[in-house]
């Protein structure tokens, strides 16, 4: 049987985070009521002209840097001309000839092997408006018109759906942690189109390309690619040929369906946008854009592993940006990141989820958190105690010490308190004490259990165990 190899290229659009839109002063925010965030410029009103939002240029520089692209220092914009109701000017301002970044890559790890996925180019452009169809009518929401986008075009260098999925996940994480975009596929702030072709293994020319448009999740990109590979393979096996086409992924079918067969060469009549002069990026501007980037995902990974966090928890932290950001505020302190991350990912997260809250909504101050973690780490507070007082810590405007006092929780390193407890246990369990002295191993376990029971878990077992042995041997 002939073996086939798939070649996959992916185009990703992400909406860029910025205060205002790319070419107008309108606010760039998702979820506002329809047509409440647009100006005459976004409406493509006669006589209006675009201005360039420098924040978007800065984001472009950052994205290019994060994706290891060469940055184009002298660039211009181009008009892509096509008629469509969601395209207010019937041309889109984009970058055709001078994309802001070229020749980049992101690194993925597949079966513990690192592999770069190459990026052809990234360019800046404006989004179209959003259309909805109601019966005979089409409705247009111009809030999205003019929202800045970055389009990232990979080289056709992937061969399996796993690689594609890993590429997209890595891309999303990188742009998300770079504060370039929310990368929320469900809100449309990240959109993926995949190009798939297959050819006989070892053949040096590519097969007929099919494009799968606007797939609703990264997981579905994987499924869509797999289905497409299967579909094309089956056709080739039967000796059939097919035309270049555009397909879409149908969620319910879990398969791709034909949208249209590509007509010969879409002619977008690109030409340099005459309303926007060349944009020249200075070294200073580039430096500033890069310097002000927040800590990236790979850097965070490195930091957390260095501070001893279990790889599983590292990934959990990376999938929760708020917690990761919070933890990072202690980067320069000697806070125990293992304990801190356990608490954040465990009890604190479940508290927040249970109460539909964010960390900011609680009474947890920076001092309180570091006090709490350091008490646990020094053994002054047992895990059980920490669990018990957590709600108070998050809800009350009291210090950890004050809460411990209020809850009558003793300082468990206070040896007189521990001794008192142990004395009591020894007195009440003469039989076990004598068993211990006769060398019965089980006795110590029992006694220890009694100590912990008496202490209601409020003492450090290690400390208590040492003390118990010491006191038993005193007799």
């Amino acid at each position: 049987m002939t073996k086939y190899e798939a070649t996959i290229g992916i185009e990703v659009h992400v909406e860029v985070k910025s205060k205002s839109k790319f070419f107008s002063q309108a606010e760039n925010r998702y979820g506002k009521s329809a047509n409440s965030s647009c100006t005459v410029v976004d409406l493509g009103y006669p006589g209006t002209l675009p201005t360039v939002n420098s924040e978007v240029i800065q984001q472009g520089i950052r994205a290019a840097h994060l994706l290891h692209c060469s940055i184009t220092k002298k660039m211009h914009f181009d008009r892509k001309n096509y008629f469509y109701p969601d395209n207010p000017k019937n041309y889109q301002i984009t970058q055709n000839r001078t994309p802001i970044g070229t020749n980049g890559y992101v690194e993925i790890e597949l079966n513990s092997v690192k592999k770069p996925i190459y990026i052809e180019e990234i360019h800046l452009e404006e989004d179209t408006c959003k259309s909805a169809h109601k019966g005979r009518f089409s409705l247009l929401d111009f809030n999205r018109a003019g929202v800045p986008l970055i389009e990232i075009v990979s080289k056709p260098c992937m061969h399996t759906q796993e690689e594609a999925v890993l590429y997209l996940e890595k891309l999303r994480e990188t742009l998300f942690y770079g504060d370039i975009s929310d990368c929320k596929i469900e809100e449309g702030s990240m959109r993926c189109d995949a190009n798939v072709s297959i050819a006989k293994e070892g053949s040096n020319h590519l097969g007929t390309k099919c494009e799968i448009k606007n797939i609703g999740s990264i997981r579905n990109v994987g499924i869509a690619i797999q289905k497409e590979i299967e579909r094309q393979t089956a056709l080739l096996e039967k000796g059939e040929t097919f035309q270049e086409q555009t397909r879409r992924f149908d969620d319910k079918l879990g398969d791709t369906v034909l949208m249209r067969v590509k007509e010969t060469g879409n002619d977008y009549r690109y030409f340099p946008e005459p309303d926007i002069p060349f944009v020249i990026l200075t070294e200073e501007q580039i430096k500033k854009a890069i310097e002000t980037l927040p800590m990236g995902s790979d850097e965070r990974r490195k930091l957390y592993l260095e501070r001893g966090i279990h790889p599983k928890n590292v990934e959990k932290l990376l999938s929760n940006r708020t917690l990761s950001d919070y933890l990072n505020t202690y980067q320069d302190s000697d806070l125990d990141f293992v304990i801190a991350s356990n608490l954040l990912l465990g009890d604190i997260s479940s508290y927040l989820n249970r109460n539909f809250m964010e960390l900011n909504d609680t009474k947890l101050t920076k001092e309180k958190f570091s006090d709490l973690i350091s008490k646990i780490s020094k053994g002054e507070l047992s895990n059980q105690n920490a669990k018990d007082i957590l709600e108070d810590v998050l809800e009350k405007e009291l210090s950890v010490d004050e809460i411990m006092k209020e809850r009558n929780i003793q300082n468990i390193t206070d040896s007189s308190f521990v001794e008192k407890l142990i004395s009591k246990v020894i007195m009440e369990n003469e039989e076990s004490v004598s068993d211990y002295h006769q060398g019965k191993d089980r006795a110590i376990k029992y006694l220890m259990g009694q100590v912990m029971k008496e202490a209601k878990g409020s003492i450090n077992p290690k400390v208590a165990n040492e003390k118990l042995i010491e006191m038993l041997n005193r007799k």
């Binding site: 009103y45 006669p46 006589g47 002209l49 000017k89 009549r269 030409f271 005459p274 002069p277």
Partner: protein, 485 residues
């Protein structure tokens, strides 16, 4: 009846200050003239109510600058809030803008009174104003002759002394050519001198708004008001705005003046050559050097212009699709049909012709052969001009190849109107300021000459223009018919 409207702006201003005249009184005269001169067909929209209400408001305040209370006519491709702006097209016949162009904001702030929106070639595409959906404006010097175009309505209005001031726009001579045909002063400023925000774009890299006036001084006054950097227009220049009247009245001697040879070649008719040569002698007699100079690619200027202007226009006019504003066809069953019918029915023949040619010029394989190449030759032409300005203070040339011709004569030949503009197009291609000054007559029709300056040298151009204006001392009131009734 005393004719205040024919007084100079300085005189009107003095009367305003002495409280002997009010803006309302002046408007009475303007609207009376508009009525009398209906046959000129130079207005598309008359803003009587708005103008009087603005005048009343002005009368509550103190007299301000020299242009306070002065009536002005606006070419109908400059958007005016709540005043219909049609571009002389069926496409925008009922279009009511929701914002003011930057130049409109500026003239309103200065206290000028907008009295109407002026006829023009549809979307400024044409050289005779005959492509207007509202019928052609007529030349006040002879009603069976064209005004020129595309700012023909603005030109006729000022030539007929209906208003002292008008705004036009110039993409390939659209201010200067009609100014020459109607005997008024028309300035196309340096590209970037005046904000284009709110000018309905024809060819973005060439369009420029400019003043059309009775005299050089009044032209400079109006440019003072409309010039300046605008954050809303990235192509507007940050070059400081000087007082453009600064050198007016100063003697002109020892100027080095160049004449681009191609612009006085055999493309120019004898009638025009005669007027132009008279100016050259006058300059020489007064101690200035006048020499021929070669500028590269001038003979290609019209072809280059067509490629760039039509390419850009095809994209700029794409937004008129019947979806958000303007004309929409009644019977469409699909989006494609909506586009096709709306645009077929809404645009006139010349506009459609240019959109089609422009679209074809930009289509994939051709863009590199035509548009890219045109841009690069344009750069070379500009360099050649700049080189000439290292040697010469100013350049002069005829504005038009002939005097105005009769209505209907140019319509059969789409290329004729472009060839008419062969002398004015180079300044647009090079982004240079250029001004038309009335310089003589032939068979009772005015003929103008053109002064071309280095970038941002408008003040020097005005100096030379006012000098010539005084020396030539033409009687330009011949365009005024209103007293003959």
């Amino acid at each position: 009846m005393s004719k205040y409207i024919d007084l100079s702006i300085l005189e009107i201003h003095a009367l305003y200050k002495e409280k002997k005249l009010t803006p309302t009184m002046l408007l009475d005269e303007v609207f009376e003239r508009i009525e009398k001169e209906k046959d000129l067909n130079c207005f598309i929209t008359i803003c009587k109510e708005e103008a009087y209400s603005d005048a009343k408001r002005l009368e509550q305040e103190e007299v301000r600058g020299l242009l306070w209370g002065i009536p002005i006519a606006i070419k109908d491709n400059i958007v005016t809030k709540n005043i219909r702006t049609t571009c002389a097209s069926k496409m925008l016949e009922h279009f009511l803008p929701i914002y003011d162009a930057t130049v409109i904001e500026k003239i309103k702030k200065e206290g000028l009174l907008i009295v109407g929106k002026m006829n023009m070639d549809e979307f400024a595409m044409g050289s005779t104003s005959e492509t207007s959906y509202f019928g052609p404006p007529k030349n006040p010097w002879n009603l069976s002759f064209i005004t020129g175009g595309s700012s023909g309505g603005s030109a006729a209005c000022v030539a007929a002394r209906i208003t002292p001031l008008a705004l036009g726009s110039d993409t390939g001579g659209s201010i200067r050519q009609p100014a020459s045909y109607t005997g008024i002063v028309g300035m196309k400023p340096t590209y970037g001198r005046v904000s284009r925000y709110g000018l309905i774009a024809f060819a973005s890299s060439l369009d420029q708004i400019g003043p059309m006036t009775r005299t050089v001084y009044e032209n400079a006054l109006l440019l003072n008001v409309i010039a300046g950097h605008d954050e809303k227009d990235l192509t507007s220049s940050t070059e400081p705005v000087e007082d453009f009247t600064a050198f007016i009245g100063k003697d002109v001697q020892h100027l080095k003046i160049g004449i681009p040879s191609y612009l006085v070649s055999d493309v120019v008719s004898d009638e025009v050559r005669c007027v132009f040569e008279n100016v050259v002698s006058l300059l020489k007699e007064n101690g200035n050097t006048v020499e021929l100079v070669d500028i590269s690619y001038l003979e290609q200027a019209v072809s280059l212009y067509q490629v760039i202007a039509m390419g850009e226009a095809s994209s700029n006019l794409a937004r008129f699709d019947g979806i958000r504003y303007g004309y929409r066809t009644d019977n469409a069953n699909s989006v494609d049909e909506l586009y096709e019918k709306t645009r077929s029915e809404g645009f006139g023949e010349e506009v459609k012709r240019r959109i089609m040619v422009g679209s074809s010029l930009l289509s994939s394989s051709k863009a590199k052969i035509y548009y890219d190449k045109a841009l690069s030759i344009r750069d070379d032409m500009r360099s050649s001009f700049l080189q000439a300005f290292e040697k010469y203070d100013l350049l002069i040339a005829p504005t038009t190849t002939t005097k105005a011709y009769s209505l209907g004569q140019g319509l059969d030949d789409p290329l004729k109107s472009f060839m008419d503009d062969v002398l004015v197009i180079p300044a647009n291609m090079a982004g240079l300021p250029a001004l038309n000054l009335p310089a003589g007559f032939h068979e009772q029709l005015p003929i103008g000459i053109q002064i071309i300056g280095a970038p941002f040298k408008e003040a020097t151009m005005y100096q030379l223009a006012s000098f010539l204006e005084e020396k030539l001392a033409l009687d330009l009131e011949g365009g005024v018919h209103h007293d003959e009734i």
